[in-house]
Symmetry: C2
Subunit: 533 residues, 2 copies
């Protein structure tokens, strides 16, 4: 059971530029890719929820841009349908629909055609003038990454990124522009640098918000709180007490409709370079001087700088790449990756990566960080398990070293929670020590990552977005591994769909005397759950 | 929710002389005070449960001794009635009653009359001979402490403590005698020493088992395991991480039928000198070299030696004594202590004690241990709360020092469990840190303390019994306080029945900036339980 023992004592993050309950500033949300999947599945539901919670200001408008020949009204109907399909729980009570939908406007334009941009620009300026919205422009590019640079160029050419220099009444009216983009940020360090240079011709680094939606997840944001607001954990958060850290992000789905992109990217670029390394950084960073965005990002970058880069000949020792074959999931046969529509029949793209990382600094010396991520795995879960050192052998309750280590588990999804496994005496006259688990489980529904991140971007809070040097250093770490994959310097291990990946990945922690711990979802699904003692 | 995550991994205490599942050795259980309250409420149920669990050997007999003129059969009927009244859940299925009751014998004797002892002695020898029980004699004196020394003398005079020197077939046959006694062990250091000298004329220190039934409680025994089998706790178990320790042992009952004894003893002698200080020792002791009885007791004694003795003039600063007045409990009026039957109308006996202790060693320097115990309090509970240091002010989530400290709570009774209170992020876009509680709660019924302790004594394991020097040093600490009470050097604070004691006791931790934490039972009873976040 979980409860708050001493009542509603609350501590707000006053020292940081967190957004809290604050309403977003007045702005125009300019969305490229307005008819696409991301917009329909994530962005419209997130905007509507923000609207329902009164986090959007009165002077707000959404301008959707895509090729299809919609009008404002038909676009509004599209939004309504998207909500009904993907987020029915977000639907407002009758009257409020209209108020939200009336904020939505549409401009049909082909992002690859420079000649279409003047119409966009004039509609932006018209909306701003008509609705009295200050020059606060949030550009969201929900589109293929090849278009990021060309669109940025056209935004500039059309004058949309020109904020003017008219005097303003007060600071809240001071004009701004921001750009939100989604991964992939390049496919290696070189291409990422080229992309970045192109964007930087138009937007300053502080204006670029690179979304990593894992950073919008409640429990990933909770890592900071766990580490820095608890005297229980802060003193033991180092190699003297922690034996290893395991990060799993597993999916049960296959490539589905993303095959064309995924077959070129693979699990390493799709998951490790961004989401998984972000979790490594959150777990491993030194306490920042303040919980302010640049101080935190500085510490995260230091983790990447301390990551031991794998030399070409070391990759095969520390990394496993796998690709799923056919198998059985939920009692049904599922097909091999190479037979999925849109995948090359001889594809050597990895759908699974496991790796052992070391962070060479005083805090983490000698502590292996094990990562694994993949598709068509046994369970869908993102979970971090911290394993503490074993108690000394031969001592006390541990004569044959059989005493189980303490574990701290941070469950990111689908369950959100924290568990601690400790050793306790089994009740009864028997003198038996058994591991028991103490749980804290989020009971309320957490907001979607996008809801939080959009609001942060509206406020200009980049804490949970990725800074350029994080992207750059993450590629620096990933590139030698990707090269080894390309050159086939390590085998592509097949694994049956519905399993925990190749056997060699299961063995990865064994070299140091560890094992992958069952995830909290597994204990239920695989019958490992035992009655409480 | 509580579960054992990785299955039935069990670690037995092989390194220690724990009794585990082992059957007790063959012996004769010689019980003085066989018709008394303790025997009927606690000892017969405990023996029967051990019998049901096959922990008692085939060659076992119980010899009850008291003044009443029972015969074996009428004594057996008395045992059956006691079980039915006080421990119906212990009743065996039909047939087994007889097998247990047939082990019971009775000898009518007045413990104050030397002339009654030869009959006891001859029955003991007759039973041993008839049943083939080796000379293994466990004497349990469930009687007034004034009788301890005279009975011991008569046991000796009657030859019952003479083990003979006949050769034995093997070690398990080697004769032994043991004495089990209950508190009070004297009423101050001098009287305790006199009592001890008398007992030691007949029994060696290793043959004397001083029961402190708190040491038989599951969660008190679990303190060792928590501390020494968990890498999470071991490194932070000191003044650098722990701010204070609070020990509460509260009762809701008044003095009831114990008034005659209690009015002479008071809460200090009845609870603090033994139970509460034992819990202090378990929490504070250094890791022993081995988990063996004398190594553990050596460490416990070191805690008492490090206890800061209160000088006469200091008692009033660190100790509160209280006595209950009338009040309301469970919606009914209850009367003042001084109006209880058997209590002197002008009695100044304390029914409540609170105190602040310091343990002057490297581990605990500067950490106040707050104790409180009393009758007619708001809740019946025994619970230990460890408060960790506050996080630094102004830092991170703690700009105004409002962040709540981490707490570890060990619930001894009536609930048995462990809770940890940590700080976590409140879900939602709000940046709010709130305390959340992670619980581990014993789900199975723990054995009664007496069941465990009797079995230990049968095995000769004295780990959870009190050694003489513990008794002696506990009195050394308590005596100056008792003297201050006697001399009225600190006020007798009245408190209303059904409350948490005198206001001045509530204020005790405030001097160091602390507070009494609500107990886990309180959060429910007093409506402090809040919805999980």
């Amino acid at each position: 059971m979980t409860d708050v023992r001493t009542g509603p004592i609350q501590s707000t993050f006053n020292s940081t530029p967190q957004t809290g309950m604050q309403q977003a500033p007045e702005h125009l949300f300019i969305l490229f890719g307005a008819t696409g999947d991301l917009a329909r599945r994530k962005l419209y539901p997130a905007l509507l929820r923000l609207w329902n919670e009164k986090r959007l200001p009165n002077k707000f408008a959404l301008l959707g841009i895509a090729r299809r020949p919609y009008h404002h009204d038909s676009f509004r109907e599209q939004i309504r349908q998207a909500i009904e399909e993907f987020a029915p729980s977000a639907m407002p009570v009758a009257g409020d629909w209209q108020a939200f939908l009336e904020r939505a406007y549409y401009c049909s334009a082909d992002a690859t055609k420079p000649e279409d941009f003047p119409a966009v620009a004039s509609l932006v300026k018209k909306l701003e003038a008509e609705q009295g919205i200050p020059t606060h422009r949030l550009f969201y590019l929900a589109m293929a990454p090849e278009l990021f640079a060309p669109v940025a160029d056209q935004l500039q050419a059309s004058g949309l990124t020109d904020l003017g220099d008219a005097p303003v009444e007060n600071d809240r009216q001071a004009p701004w522009k921001r750009l939100i983009i989604e991964k992939p940020f390049g496919r290696d360090r070189t291409s990422a640098e080229i992309l970045n240079q192109a964007l930087r011709r138009v937007f300053a680094e502080t204006e670029i918000f690179r979304i990593d939606h894992y950073l919008g997840k409640e429990m990933v944001q909770n890592i900071e709180v766990l580490r820095f607001a608890n005297a229980l954990f802060e003193p033991i958060w180092n190699h003297r007490n922690i034996a290893s850290v395991q990060i799993t992000s597993s999916e049960t789905v296959g490539v589905e409709e993303r095959a064309a992109y995924y077959d070129k990217a693979g699990a390493l670029r799709d998951m490790v370079q961004n989401h998984v390394l972000q979790m490594v950084m959150m777990m491993a960073m030194e306490p920042p001087s303040r919980l302010k965005v640049e101080a935190i990002r500085d510490e995260k970058v230091k983790v990447l700088r301390s990551l031991r880069t794998l030399k070409e000949e070391e990759v095969y020792q520390h990394v496993v790449r796998g690709q799923y074959r056919g198998g059985s999931m939920w009692g049904q046969a599922v097909q091999s990756y190479r037979k999925e529509p849109g995948v090359q029949p001889q594809s050597s793209t990895e759908t699974f990566v496991a790796a052992r990382l070391f962070i060479d600094n005083f805090r983490w010396t000698g502590v292996p960080f094990y990562l694994r991520t993949g598709k068509r795995m046994a369970t869908k879960a993102t979970e971090i398990v911290v394993q503490f050192h074993n108690m000394p052998n031969h001592l006390y309750f541990n004569p044959e070293g059989q005493l189980q280590p303490n574990l701290l588990s941070i469950q990111v999804s689908p369950k959100e929670g924290i568990s601690i496994r400790i050793n306790a005496k089994q009740p009864g006259t028997d003198a038996v020590v058994v591991p028991v688990v103490m749980d804290f489980c989020q009971q309320t529904e957490s907001p979607e990552a996008y809801e939080r991140l959009l609001l942060d971007a509206m406020h200009g809070d980049a804490t949970f977005f990725t800074r350029w040097d994080e992207v750059q250093l993450a590629w620096k770490f990933v590139d030698p591994i990707a090269d080894a994959f390309t050159d086939h310097r390590l085998p592509l291990e097949p694994y049956a769909a519905g399993t925990w990946g190749p056997a060699v990945a299961t063995q990865l922690p064994v070299a140091e005397g560890y094992q992958w711990w069952p995830l909290s979802t597994q204990t239920h699904e695989e019958g490992l759950l035992h009655e409480p003692i």
